[in-house]
């Protein structure tokens, strides 16, 4: 029965002999022990009667009284108990809940009238789903827990941790039969419900936090509907990944996404190379044109001016100047050339024999 282990909560360990005189139902060994002791005690008195006359019963009676008082005190002392800072204690009188005590030194009516159960109310308990943690760093996956179907009927591999603590000791103790199994069951059901309405790509990428929050809320509402007295502190997704069978393909998608970015970047690099080059080329073309403009216009002005000057001078003595210009020029031209002077009358006969190939240019005047 549930209070078999009550004694382990008793800081005074052993019960004093004979202490269970008043009750002791439900615990046959105690009754036997008590009866045996009582028989021994009374047997001694009976035995004493035959031997030493009137004195012995008085001594026996005094002794008996003393033992009874000490036994009673010891019995009462078993009701002392300490509740640690992180605990709360539930007091049960004949199994009925009468009181809940906080930390400190307390006293309850001794066993079997009252018993005390202490619970670690502030301790956050941790539960792994989808894997088992062996505490020494070894972790084993539980595929039947961690594989689940998403809304778009893909399979995803999720393991997560649920942290919970006791919200109400009374509910925790009296309303549910197995806290850990309760939380585990609710968590498994909740995560599948949440994942079942989420798309795989969202689960794997952007909606992890939402899944955590939704799952936590759902577990909490399931537990509240059981009045389990448990509050969920956090739900933390540990490992969210595609199942092992298809992980290669998922990785390929990730690298394809990078390939896409890389292709874009390479193209951008190319663009960044040729556009500034072209702009440079364009500037050069404009500058060249502007240079040309300056050159041509200034030249024209200069040459026109020169012509005007010359013309002015020429008009003062046209004939002479004309001749001078002509002869000057011809002199200059003739000085540089390789000349053959042929009389016009024989030109027709001789011309075909001239080694014209030696000359770059031939001019017949």
């Amino acid at each position: 029965m549930p209070w078999n282990d009550n004694q382990s909560n008793n800081p005074w360990g052993n019960r004093p002999p004979g202490g269970g005189g008043g009750g002791g139902n439900q615990t046959p060994p105690d009754i036997e022990e008590v009866i045996k002791r009582l028989q021994e005690r009374f047997g001694g008195i009976f035995g004493g009667k035959g031997g030493s006359g009137g004195n012995a019963p008085d001594i026996g009676k005094g002794l008996l009284g003393g033992i009874a008082v000490i036994a009673l005190l010891l019995w009462l002392a078993t009701g002392l108990y300490v509740v640690a800072a992180d605990e709360e204690a539930v007091v049960l009188r004949f199994g009925q809940h009468t009181d809940t005590k906080g930390p400190g030194l307390n006293w309850h009516l001794p066993y079997p009238i009252e018993t005390v159960e202490k619970l670690p109310v502030t301790r956050v308990q941790r539960l792994g789903i989808g894997f088992r943690d062996f505490g020494d760093g070894r972790v084993r996956k539980i595929p039947q827990e961690s594989l689940m179907l998403t809304r778009d009927e893909n399979i995803v591999d999720i393991s997560f941790i649920v942290q919970y603590k006791i919200k109400s000791v009374e509910n925790y103790l009296f309303n549910i039969d197995n806290a850990e199994k309760t939380v585990r069951g609710a968590a498994e059901s909740a995560i599948r419900e949440v994942i079942g309405r989420t798309m795989i790509d969202d689960v794997l990428t952007t909606k992890k936090a939402e899944v955590e929050v939704e799952t936590q809320d759902l577990i909490q509402s399931i537990l509240d509907s059981y009045q389990a007295g448990i509050s969920i502190a956090t739900v933390k997704l540990q490992d969210v990944q595609p199942p092992e069978r298809v992980i290669k393909e998922f990785k390929d998608v990730a690298s394809a996404r990078e390939d896409k970015e890389r292709a874009k970047n390479e193209a951008q690099t190319y663009a960044n190379d040729i556009i500034p080059n072209a702009r440079g080329e364009a500037k050069k073309m404009i500058l060249d044109a502007e240079g040309y403009e300056k050159e041509v216009v200034e030249r024209a002005i200069g040459e026109a001016d020169r012509f005007n000057q010359l013309l002015k001078a020429y008009r003062q003595a046209p004939d002479v100047t004309r001749k001078r210009l002509y002869i000057d020029t011809m002199q200059e031209v003739m000085a540089k050339t390789d000349k053959t002077i042929i009389d016009g009358s024989i030109a027709g006969q001789i011309l075909p024999y001239l080694p014209l190939d030696r000359a770059g240019k031939v001019e017949v005047k």
Partner: protein
């Protein structure tokens, strides 16, 4: 005195034994059924110290919300697919007497309840397609509704067992091995498609970026060429105008001087001239003037 004392002692012991046999404790977490030679006499649902006749015995039942986890249950869906459903049931003993009559013990009644729940799970889920069960189909709350329907029907089904079904929850609704295989194949194909899409999109974007860049280059160069030509045109026009305004003052003289200039420029070193002595330049070559 002594015989009296020993008598008192014996009485005390007997009284203690009788007292212990005629009282029993019911824990906060339990309820009890008092039996007289196997016959149910009394149901005790309040915790505390209770009395009975010494020859009566007590059967204890849990009063808490109990969990009962069954083995996965294979369900055939409406679209004739098989699915493995793992569910748990939260239930509570409401009438120890009935439980005792039906199954004697808590485990016995739990087993009977499991049978009922399993049947209801099959019945309810059998009316829906795989897709609806797994992901709710069009109705996001379908899963919740299904669980509630199963709970309600199971609750009605166990009415006579002295228990109530508080909650039935589907922990897992998984595809059996063969179907999982198909899902994996589909996932692979889908991922391959997505990967290809990404790569093609990358190629597309890259080509666009390159082409756009090349277009920009052509634009820039064309623009620049146009502007350069305009500038050159202006320059030529201006120069031509300048020349024309000067030269038109004496076109003849211009032709003369320009020709001379042209000779100078065009007849360079090494040019071979075959000249007649009758030309203007040789006017005085043969004869000493007139």
């Amino acid at each position: 005195m002594s015989p009296k004392l020993s008598m008192a002692g014996i009485l005390l012991v007997v009284a203690a034994i009788v007292a212990s046999m005629s009282t029993f404790v019911v824990d906060q977490r339990e309820q009890a059924l008092v039996l007289q030679f196997g016959n149910p006499k009394n149901v005790v649902t309040t915790a505390g110290l209770h009395f009975k006749l010494p020859w009566q015995s007590v059967e204890y039942f849990d009063r808490r919300l109990l969990e009962s986890d069954a083995l996965p249950n294979e369900v055939i869906t409406k679209d004739k697919k098989s699915i493995l459903v793992d569910n748990y049931t939260r239930w509570r003993i409401t009438d120890p007497l009935k439980v005792y009559q039906v199954a004697r013990t808590q485990t016995g009644v739990a087993a009977r309840m499991q049978d009922v729940v399993r049947g209801k799970v099959r019945e309810v889920l059998g009316q829906h397609t795989l897709h609806e069960i797994v992901s709710g189909g069009d109705n996001a709350n379908l899963r919740v509704e299904l669980m509630r329907t199963i709970q309600r029907r199971a609750h009605d089904g166990v009415k006579d067992y002295g228990i109530e079904v508080v909650d039935v929850r589907i922990k897992r609704a998984d595809l059996p091995q063969e179907n999982s295989e198909a899902v994996f194949q589909r996932m692979k194909a889908e991922r391959n498609r997505i990967a290809k899409e990404y790569r093609s999109e990358g190629e597309e974007a890259a080509r666009e970026i390159r082409a756009k860049a090349e277009k920009d280059v052509k634009f820039v160069l064309a623009d620049a060429y146009k502007n350069a030509q305009i500038i050159r045109g202006h320059a030529d026009a201006k120069a031509t105008k300048t020349y024309a305004s000067a030269h038109s003052r004496d076109p003849n003289f211009y032709a003369f001087t320009r020709s001379l200039e042209a000779y100078k420029q065009s007849i360079t070193e090494g040019t071979r001239l075959v000249i007649s002595p009758e030309s203007e330049f040789f006017r005085y070559f043969g004869k000493s003037g007139k």
